[in-house]
Amino acid sequence: MHFSHARKGVNKIIIAQVFAILATVLASGVGLILPVAERLTDNKDVLNTLLFMISVAMSGITATIVLVLMAVFSFFGYGQAAKDEAAFKKSMICALVGSTLTISGFFVQIPNDLLSTLLTSAGTVVEMFMLVYAVSGVMNLAVHCGQRSVTDGGRFMLRLLVVTYLITSVNTLIIRIFELSEHAWIVSIVIGAINSVLELLRYAFYLRYLRQCAAMLAAYDGEAEDE
């Protein structure tokens, strides 16, 4: 039995995760700087403020482009891997739906804050499902390949995913609760930073797990060819 489709698919997902880390760094930068930038709009130094805002906007646009690339690589990666393991098909559907919800949530933020909140929350859940199904898919492949260490790594990954998504979801609620208070910007920065760290941690471990999976599949396909 070969898992060549899964191997190629996982390699694409690895590239997507590199983009995800890059996008998180850029978006976090924007997220952390924006509350400060808003306070700077009162400043009389118009030129500095303008330059600052342009750099923030550039970072935001770059982050959006990287996010779109990540979504494209994820979609095709999961789609290819789905030819060998059915769980990746669910990840592919979740990748498509999750991206649509998150992007829609971003665009409707100004006309309708409630809808944006709901779309973003739903997007977060769908994203979690995407990763959970992907990790389950890798664990299923690991059972076929007889790689117990990868199965155990999957259990750890699932634990990490649940914990980080629970914390970031609760944190998002906290930010929304305090957004009208006097110190909203401090809460936003602190909680935003925590969320960014958790996201980076999640993506980094997921990336490491995918690399482990890619190595496992390469070794398995090599052995199968030798036989």
Binding site: R176, I177, E179
Partner: protein, 519 residues
């Protein structure tokens, strides 16, 4: 995490074990409906806006529907399981939310009842989260979502419920979702949309679970209706102050779920009835039913019948030639009723016949069958057996009795009388049992009647038993009748005694008339 998932599952299974839930939920739903009518009567419609009255009317009507559905669940106690408990709890939570909604409108605009309005609204928001959580729980059980991603989703939905409840409680001290102004009027606060986050998270999980579950289209449609109907209602009424019909919309979804559940149960019942009918036919085919049996043999005349109390019973009879000169006669009664008894009966019948055909004596046969049944008898079923092997040449009958009723013998010139020989222990009751044999000599013209306890223990309306006296009387009244007529006479007499009483036990009888070799 596995430990946490297991702990949560243990707590959820607790719900399934609580038999008091259905009656308690019915009582609570009725109480809430009655209370809502009384409170409305006390308050009256003075000063109410039309939309408030619409909301109150919808609330009371839907509470009554919830109470009726709970009542329906109380009727069929045997069909209740953990799913029913979750469903009924969901119904009652919905009824409670409707009641709170009514309270909110009854005290609306009354500054003196500001605190009541606040408490009712906080509980109203709590019920929203609980109801969605219960719906997820119901869907998880109904669609049997137990794979790894669904267990994680369950953990996520369960844990997120707690901050959601906590945030609802915060409204007691800080107007997070709403505020009750000095005039006693409810107003949404700026962060009201946060109240919808948990609902959104849980319903997204439900939608994904339904999308990925291996469920029928009908189940998917019903599940999705719980999301779609309240969502459409919310979209229509979100900006109309006073028109709060989201829980009425939820009631419509619940009624839909109930309708499908009911239809499903009817389908299962019809299928079970059909299978029982097939089982009855299989069982009837298993028993020898061609009479006269071996008409070319003039030494004997034999007849037997079995009338099951349920569609399939646990009694059986059997008779078969072992060789040219020996005839085996068996009558037995399996513990219990219905399909399990019928399955055990079939196994016992085959084992007895196969062992008799090896040439063993009746006592040895019962010992061997007892040993084989005891080897894998996890359900602890047993069977009482009377086994006789008749030598057709001289009328010698060797019998062994494993806890069965005494046979009744009629000598050529005498009456029918109980033949009280010593019993052995039931087959399947205890391993290593030995069975004593009794030898009789049937003179030509003798009749032997064997039966199961359904005959003497048949009861009439006054709970009197048919008994041996009536039994022997009817036999003796028909002492010269052929076995077939004798069995029919006993059946008719038992029927006349019990009249319209339902038959409690199987009626099984076998009679042999020994004529002798040179009749």
């Amino acid at each position: 995490m596995n430990d946490l998932v297991m702990k949560i599952n243990d707590k959820k299974d607790w719900l399934g074990r609580q038999v008091w839930i259905v009656p308690a939920c019915f009582g609570l739903s009725c109480l809430l409906t009655a209370l809502s009518v009384v409170l409305l009567a006390l308050r009256g419609f003075n000063g109410m806006e039309n939309v408030w009255m619409c909301s109150i009317g919808a609330d009371i009507f839907c509470m009554a529907i919830c109470a009726m559905l709970c009542f329906s669940a109380t009727l069929n106690s045997k069909a209740r399981n953990a799913d029913t408990h979750v469903f009924v709890t969901m119904l009652t939570t919905n009824a409670f939310a409707l009641f709170l909604d009514e309270i909110c409108w009854l005290v609306q605009g009354n500054p003196a009842l500001r605190v009541v309005n606040l408490v009712a609204n906080v509980l109203f928001y709590i019920m929203g989260s609980v109801l969605v959580y219960l719906f997820w729980e119901y869907i998880r059980r109904a669609l049997k979502l137990n794979d790894r991603p669904m267990r994680i989703a369950d953990l996520f939905v369960t844990v997120m419920l707690y901050p959601s409840l906590l945030l609802s409680l915060v409204n007691f001290v800080y107007p997070l979702y709403f505020e009750i102004d000095a005039g006693g009027v409810y107003r949404r606060a700026a962060q009201w949309d946060v109240s919808q986050v948990y609902l959104c998270i849980a319903l997204t999980v439900v939608i994904l679970a339904i999308a990925f579950a291996k469920a029928s289209k009908k189940d998917r449609f019903v599940a999705i209706s719980f999301v779609a109907i309240p969502l459409v209602n919310q979209a229509v009424t979100v900006n109309v102050f006073g028109l709060s019909t989201q829980y009425a919309a939820t009631t419509v979804s619940i009624v839909l779920i109930y309708g499908v559940l009911f239809a499903e149960r009817e389908k299962t019942l019809a299928s079970t009835e059909m299978e029982l009918g097939v089982a009855t036919k299989i069982q009837a085919d298993m028993l020898p039913g061609t009479f006269p049996f071996m008409p070319e043999r003039t030494e004997f005349d034999l007849y037997a019948s079995m009338t099951p109390a349920k569609e399939v019973g646990g009694d059986f009879y059997d008779f078969f030639p072992i060789d040219d000169d020996h005839l085996a006669l068996v009558i037995a009664d399996v513990s219990g009723k219905g399909i399990p008894a019928a399955l055990f009966m079939m196994a016992s019948k085959i084992l007895i016949k196969n062992t008799v055909m090896t040439g063993k004596s009746p006592g040895e046969v019962l010992s061997a069958v007892n040993r084989q049944i005891c080897e894998n008898n996890r359900e602890e079923m047993f069977v009482t057996v009377w086994l006789g092997i008749l030598d057709l040449r001289d009328g010698t009958l060797v019998t062994a009795n494993a806890g069965h009723e005494y046979p009744i013998l009629k000598t050529p010139d005498g009456d029918f009388e109980l033949l009280k020989a010593k019993h052995g222990f039931v087959v399947g009751g205890m391993p290593g049992m030995k069975y004593k044999e009794t030898e009789l000599h049937l003179a030509p013209g003798s009749k032997l009647f064997v039966y199961t306890d359904g005959v003497p223990e048949a009861e009439n309306e006054q709970e009197e038993q048919y008994g041996y006296e009536r039994f022997l009387n009817v036999l003796n009244k028909n002492r010269d009748a052929r076995p077939e007529m004798l069995l029919k006479a006993v059946s008719a007499d038992v029927g006349a005694f019990t009249q319209d009483q339902p038959q409690f036990d199987d009626l099984t009888m076998l009679c042999i008339h020994y004529r002798g070799k040179n009749n």
